[in-house]
Structures are given as structure tokens and as C-alpha cells.
Amino acid sequence: MKPLRRMAAILLRQFYLIRGSPARLLPLFVWAAVDIVLWGFITRYLQTIAPSGFNFTPALLGAVLFWDFFTRVMFGVTTTFLEDVWSRNFLNLFATPLSIWEYLSGLVLSSIATSTVGLVVMLALAMIAFGLSFFVYGLALIPFLLVLFLFGIALGVFAVGAVLRYGPAAEWFVWPIPAVLSPFAAVFYPLSTLPGWMQHVSHLLPPSYVFESMRTILAGGPVSWPGLLWSISLAVLYILLAGWFFARIYHRAIRTGLIARYSAETLS
């Protein structure tokens, strides 16, 4: 029970912070909502000028929604960690019985809560305002969300490990990660559009399987279940690697004293 309570403490702390701060509450859904509105109208415009009857709504707006969900999951992990950076709370936090695995699980719990808020708002807007129906993806919707969730967690944990290693200024490193990955993840275009070397990178990114499958389904093709299973396995592998990376960075910080003097950024 105690490990669960310690994980729940991280979630509760985030709840306290969000409840008392519009600056934390609004970003949970405002940027996602802006994206849906922007791409909703772009989709509507493309629908009017497209020569054939191709339905852009699930292909483009759906892709935006999925990618935003992945981004919210990743930022859910990193933002919860950054709260401890911003409030210089490492010494108080890591001198408690909290283990790093409980801490990481607390970050994930917090991310589930915050990304769910964003997902619900995006779904509501996309369905009500722009007529996006998720039934078109069928049962594949479940692995789509699962892959994006798992990969978001993996990247979030990797990013917080990097910030822990390089100090508070490394926060800049966190925010552009989704933008850097998006061309390789083939969010808006088929993988075959990319040059060979980029396709090799894409095959290592679980979201690329989601977006390829999504387009295949919309084109009337069959779902590639082995491909989705592979992407889930890949995402789980990345979570394990990210956890291992964070643990290494944490133990290094304990050895060098960085946890106790984190604002110094480096002790070398």
C-alpha cells in the first residue's frame, strides 16, 4: 500500500498545482483545442478543392489529434518532473522513502490524468465541430492510442533523464522533441514519401506504424496487426530503455552530489 500512496502523492501534488493555477490548467487543453480548430478548417478547405471524394477529415484531423495526444502524454511526464526542478524540490523529495520507480510511476499517473483531459477536449471538438468519427478506425483505435501513449511515456522519461543530467537549463531540450520527430513519424504523409535514410529512422519509431495503419484503413485496406504488435513491442522496449537511462542518470547524480546541488547544473 505504501508504494501506491507514494505514487499517488505525486499525482495529488500535481492536482493541487493545477487546481490552483490557470497557467497550468489551460495548457492541458487550450493548445490541443487550437490545433483541432486550425486543422479542422484546413481540412474543410481541402475538402472543397479536392478533385475526388477523398475524406480528409479522418486522415488529417485524425492525425493531428493522435499526434497531439502523444505530445500531451510526453509533456504530462516532463511537466510533472519540471515542477520539482522549478520549485527546487529534489532534496526534499529524494530524501523521502520514495524510490525512483515509484517516482517515475507517479509521473506516469500524472500524465495519464492530464493527457486524458486533453484527449477528451480534442475528441469532443473534432467530433462536434468537424464531424470526425472514430468509428472509421474500428478496433485499431485501441492499439493506436496504446502505442502513442507508451511512446509518449518513453520519450517523457528519457527527456526528464536528460534534464536531470544536464541541469535546469536543459529544459529547452524537452519542448521541441515532438516537432523534431514528427517528420520521421510520417504523421501527414505516407512513409514512401520520405527518402530512404528517413524511412530507416521511421521504422524505429512506433508512431509511424500507427499513422501508416491509419492511412491504410482509410484507403480501405486491412489493418496490419503484426505491424501494430511490433510497434507496441518497440514502445515497451523504449520504456524499459528510458527507465534504465533515468536510473543510471539518477545514480550518477547520487554519486556526484548533483541531486543535492542541482542548481549548479554540473559538478565537474
Binding site: 507514494r6 501534488r13 493541487y16 515542477e83 520549485s87 526534499n92 547520487i254 556526484t256 543535492a260
Partner: protein
């Protein structure tokens, strides 16, 4: 506050804290060099020394946020390297340089840390501590807007949340006026006496050290230079006051010599 009336420690009961041959080096720099000491139940031990002597480094190692290069640290017989969770469940600390997060209220902070320390019935415990440190009126005030003295009280409330067996206090009264410092000292000593706690206390205020500590260790350049009763130690080394002894240790540790016969 002299705590002479505290019961004598049973030899069979493990010490609250046992530090044995502790070393910490950063590359070529030696921060802690073979320090050993014990803290018993009902005992307040002062860790003294000039800035950079290694006091905070030792406290960080006891808290498990800094790995020793060599040596062992045991809390009630448990090695912190192998039993981190169990030892930290019975340990807590307050330090002037580690205030509670300013963006949470006093209650929210205590609730959060109460859950991390596995406190049973945290609401009841928080109410007790808010009353004990006279900060009930700040229950729903963000810690960041409290005065230094109020923040110190909130930090001490956090430090006592889990009724620690070992309490580490790193300059707990450093930012307080004399009246507030006296009040805080009194409250800590009351808690230590009631709960049979072992306390490790660092301070640069020698008046305070003499008042509260049963025993002191003088550190210089990471080594224990002197150890003894703060009331008798100055005379043993031919000094009038503890402050005079401190200055001698800080300025010329090598010329201090042995005890005066």
C-alpha cells in the same frame, strides 16, 4: 535547553545513527575523510565546523542523496546502502537551504510529504503539527509568501511529520531572530525529549549549540578534530568559550594541540 535529565541509553539497543569511517571524495578533492560518530536515543549531537568542513556533505550522505566513497551509515542498525526505504521512513530533516515548495500551501505540502513518508492519519498529524509550531493560521497560505521564520516552522513541521527516530537539522535557526530562534529550539528539544529521538544538529551559533547539544564534533577539512561535551570542551583546550574554540579550529586547526592537563 540542557537535556541532562534524559534517560541513559541501554547498551544493547542499536544507536539511532552510527557513522563508521565515512569518506567522500570528488576527484582529487577530499570532502569527508574518515569520520565516525554515533547518535543515541534522547541525544542531540552538534556537528560543528567552518564553511566547507563537510557538515552538509555528511548530512546528505545520511539522507541517501549522496553516495559515500567509503564507510557505512546505519540507522537503528540498518545500513542505508541496503535498506534505503526503511531507514528513510524513520529519518527526516530540515535545512535552511531547502524550503518547502513555495507554490503549494502549508497544508498541501504537509499532505504531500505525509503521503511520501507513509504517515497514518495525515490530517490529524498535520493539525497537531500546525498547532505545535503555531502556524495554524497559515494552513492555507502558500509557503512562498511566508516569512523566513514561518517557512522555518513549516519546514520543521515537515521534518516531524513521520515522528522520525533520527532528525537531521542543518542550521535550523539560521534565518531567525533571537526570539524566534529560542522558540524553535525549545519546540525541537521538547519533541526530541518526548519522542526519544536522536538529533544531529549543525549550527554556527555557539550559544545555541551549548544550550541544546549533549555532545559536539568539530570538523575541519572533512576530519573530526575534537569531540566532547560543549560545556566542558573549551576549557579542556584552554579556551574560554565554545565560540573561541570554534574560531581556533577554523583558523588554525593544526596548532590546536591536545587537551590541557
Amino acid at each position: 535547553m540542557a537535556l541532562d535529565s534524559r534517560p541513559v541509553q541501554e547498551p544493547s539497543i542499536p544507536k539511532v545513527l552510527s557513522v563508521t569511517d565515512l569518506h567522500k571524495t570528488y576527484g582529487q578533492t577530499v570532502a569527508v575523510d574518515g569520520v565516525s560518530f554515533e547518535v543515541g536515543r534522547n541525544q542531540i549531537v552538534g556537528l560543528l565546523g567552518p564553511n566547507g568542513a563537510g557538515k552538509t556533505t555528511i548530512i546528505n550522505m545520511i539522507l541517501g542523496v549522496l553516495k559515500p566513497t567509503a564507510g557505512t551509515i546505519r540507522v537503528e542498525g540498518l545500513d542505508i546502502a541496503r535498506h534505503r526505504r526503511q531507514t528513510l521512513e524513520r529519518t527526516n530533516f530540515a535545512a535552511v537551504y531547502t524550503p518547502l515548495p513555495g507554490n503549494l500551501t502549508v497544508y498541501q505540502n504537509l499532505r504531500f510529504f505525509g503521503m511520501l513518508y507513509g504517515v497514518n492519519d495525515p490530517s490529524q498529524r498535520i493539525t497537531e503539527l500546525l498547532a505545535q509550531f503555531d502556524i495554524e493560521r497559515f494552513r492555507h497560505t502558500k509557503c512562498g509568501v511566508l516569512s523566513s521564520g514561518e517557512q522555518t516552522r513549516a519546514g520543521l513541521a515537515k521534518a516531524l511529520l513521520n515522528r522520525p527516530h533520527l532528525l537531521l537539522l542543518d542550521e535550523p535557526t539560521a534565518s531567525l531572530d533571537p526570539a524566534a530562534a529560542m522558540d524553535i529550539r525549545q519546540r525541537i528539544c521538547e519533541f526530541a525529549a518526548q519522542e526519544a529521538v536522536g538529533v544531529l544538529w549543525t549550527s554556527h551559533n555557539m550559544y545555541e549549540v551549548e544550550k541544546v547539544c549533549d555532545r559536539v564534533l568539530f570538523l575541519s577539512h572533512g576530519k573530526t578534530l575534537l569531540e566532547g561535551n560543549p560545556k566542558t570542551l573549551p576549557r579542556e583546550y584552554g579556551k574560554q568559550t565554545l565560540e573561541e574554540l570554534f574560531i581556533a579550529v577554523a583558523r588554525e586547526p593544526l596548532t590546536l594541540g591536545g587537551p590541557v592537563a
